[in-house]
């Protein structure tokens, strides 16, 4: 439902095809020996990637945003992209197999590692890895027991989008979407705020409670014991009375800001940029409580058939130019600080605008699991319960 098709160009130049075939024969058993690559050999002629829509652009939507064509020319690896609209779709596709790489978010990456669908990445074969933002190099959503399972791609976060006509001064707290109150224009927020239509939003409620109700002792919004979880659900039940529609489709939310009188909501930079480009009175902020966010990692399938091309892509994916162009296109933050300087599309202020300095205030998506560090004895509420309880909350229970 949320999948957009970004079809891969059918233009296959004959020369590349010849090289591809030669490489395929030459590589022989290359695919079978994928585990623990020690050197990057000759390319297999192609690489198959599962990615978020808009993540791998070859200039088909806008000519200036193209970080594929040059890679294909240089390496002879044709890039095949399969887009996926949700983390769960990505996990499902990787379980099916037949792909080399996936741009997994934090709520999918640990599942893929635990399910043994991805293999350890030898970062010594990726020369640019040392240039990756040190804050990301060993991030817990892709590094388990000191082993790297991927290369950081991009990150971003959920902002509080608000109508600048209603809020002359930016709101400072998520309370405008969680608690019934009068907004600065004198009218109630009832029916004029939105929330995200996915169980991971329970973490947003927990993040708000972390500072609004310190007595609950929430440390990590993805690690909640029964009491903390119950408090978050209670808050969301109150919120249900304020929210007339929950959003999950970015374009629908854009429309709701325009036509449904929505004045505040959790949102992405994408919607805010789009609305601002249409000269709508919309601003965005990370409130004092911080925000939830996502950090994506390019991960290598355990049975990748084209490991050499995959390693070449991973190297290419963290090249400063790719990273800068992608950040400008997607409204996200590069995982390589060098990308922030001298990129024509991103501009010198681009990283700052997209939130480079907010890193410490972001709680990055993780899949909630029963076994957790914050509550070692009684455990945490696992994700499948988040799902069924969020359905109940939306249904008014």
């Amino acid at each position: 439902m949320e999948t957009y098709a970004f079809p891969v160009s059918g233009r296959v130049c004959a020369r590349i095809l010849t090289i591809a075939m030669a490489a395929a024969f030459g590589a022989g058993l290359g695919g079978a020996q994928a585990q623990g690559l020690q050197t990057v050999g000759k390319g297999e002629g192609q690489v198959d990637i599962v990615a978020w829509p808009g993540y791998i652009e070859r200039g088909e939507t806008d000519k200036s945003y193209d970080w594929v064509t040059e890679f294909e020319k240089k390496t002879g690896c044709k890039v095949n992209v399969k887009t996926a609209g949700t983390s769960d779709e990505m996990v499902a596709l990787m379980n099916e197999g037949g792909f080399d790489l996936v741009t997994a978010s934090g709520d999918a990456s640990l599942r893929l590692i635990a399910g043994k669908r991805v293999q350890e990445v030898n970062v010594n074969l990726i020369p640019s890895y040392s240039k990756v933002d040190p804050r990301l190099q060993n991030a817990p959503w892709h590094t388990v027991e000191g082993k790297h399972y991927g290369v950081p791609y991009q990150w971003g976060y959920n902002v509080l989008a608000y109508n600048t006509k209603v809020f002359k001064k930016p709101p400072t707290s998520w309370s405008v979407v969680f608690e019934e109150q009068k907004l600065p224009d004198g009218k109630s927020n009832k029916g004029r705020v939105q929330a995200f239509d996915g169980p991971i939003y329970i973490a947003d409620a927990a993040l708000y409670l972390k500072s609004a109700k310190p007595a609950l002792g929430i440390k990590d919004p993805y690690q909640l014991n029964e009491d903390q979880y119950k408090a978050a659900l209670d808050l969301l039940r109150k919120q249900r009375k304020l929210v007339s529609r929950y959003w999950h489709d970015a374009m629908i939310q854009v429309d709701d800001f325009k036509n449904e009188g929505v004045v505040a909501s959790s949102s992405w930079g994408f919607q805010v940029n789009l609305l601002q480009s249409e000269k709508r009175p919309i601003g965005s902020i990370v409130p004092k409580e911080g925000a939830t966010g996502w950090a994506d990692t390019t991960m290598l399938h355990v049975n990748a058939k084209n490991p050499n091309c995959a390693y070449m892509w991973m190297e290419h994916s963290i090249n400063a130019k790719t990273q800068g162009d992608l950040a400008a296109w997607f409204g996200s933050v590069p995982s390589v600080p060098a990308a922030c300087k001298g990129n024509a599309l991103l501009g010198d202020k681009g990283c700052e605008t997209n939130g480079y300095n907010e890193f410490d205030r972001i709680s990055f998506w993780k899949t909630p699991t029963a076994k957790c560090a914050d509550h070692p004895e009684k455990g945490c509420v696992p994700y499948y319960r988040w799902v069924s309880d969020y359905i109940a909350v939306l249904g008014g229970r």
């Binding site: 439902m1 769960d88 499902a92 029916g191 529609r245 009188g261 069924s388 249904g395 008014g396 229970r397």
Partner: protein, 315 residues
Amino acid sequence: MTSAAAALPLDRSPLQRLSSALYLRPALLTFLLLTPPLLWLGVIYLGSLFTLLAHSFFALDEFSGVMVREFSLATWKEFFGNPANWDVVIRSALMAIAVTLAAALIAFPIAYYMVRYAGLRMKAVLYLGVMLPLWSSYLVRVYAWKLILAKEGIVSWFANTLHLGWLLDLVLDIPEIGGPSLSTSYLGTFIVFTYIWLPFMILPVVAALERVPGSVIEASGDLGAKPGQTFRKVILPLAFPGVVAGSIFTFSLTLGDYIIPSIIGKSVPFLGETVYRLQGTAGNVPMAAAFTVVPIVIMGIYLTLAKRLGAFDAL
């Protein structure tokens, strides 16, 4: 007799022998012809369906959230024990009933006009008009309705221009089915469902009405029945199986749809959405399977009733 048998050539080709062997054994021929489609239906279609349903007798491990492949009634216990699940079932069923009734009420006059009054050319235009929406993308039509019903959309603009904004507000103030705007209320979901599934009601009703012989209607008039009586006692009973046949479509399609309620309405989960989320997002296949059983049971009851009303004579 013996001469006829002798006339058969003795050295026939294998194909001819096969042909006559099959001709002499019609049961074998039927068996051979039916086996492939029955295998398809039985293994691929019903087989996978029953495999899915069987999953409802597995359960998720409380601690790890991984499915345990052992017989257990835990999923069903949770299904019946959680009132939120009942909400979803009742909400979906009520919506399906409301949409079916509305579709029948709208479809009958249209179908009646098409069959009884429209000339040949008009009939073709009307058929085209009914079918045309089915050829355009379902998603585009639903998104278009979102704009039409929005708070600042064309419906409220129209109402305000005619100084009827108070009427719209009155409608939206109805508790439960109202809301801040048409596109964020049950009412909006209902309108769009009715619009989308209406052709599936009109077509069977047209088919049923066409089978009502004109002579019967004339005879009714000749015997002194008023038009109203003819309609109630002759036309309606004869065309009713068509309405029931159409209602099978509108009812089951509304019951299972998960796209309309996710775009239009107040984000309350319906059956299809719930299954989608449990299966896709949570990996809770047992619970999703349990939810899948619900529409099957509801439709089973519905079809039994429909059969009694003679719906399948008008398909």
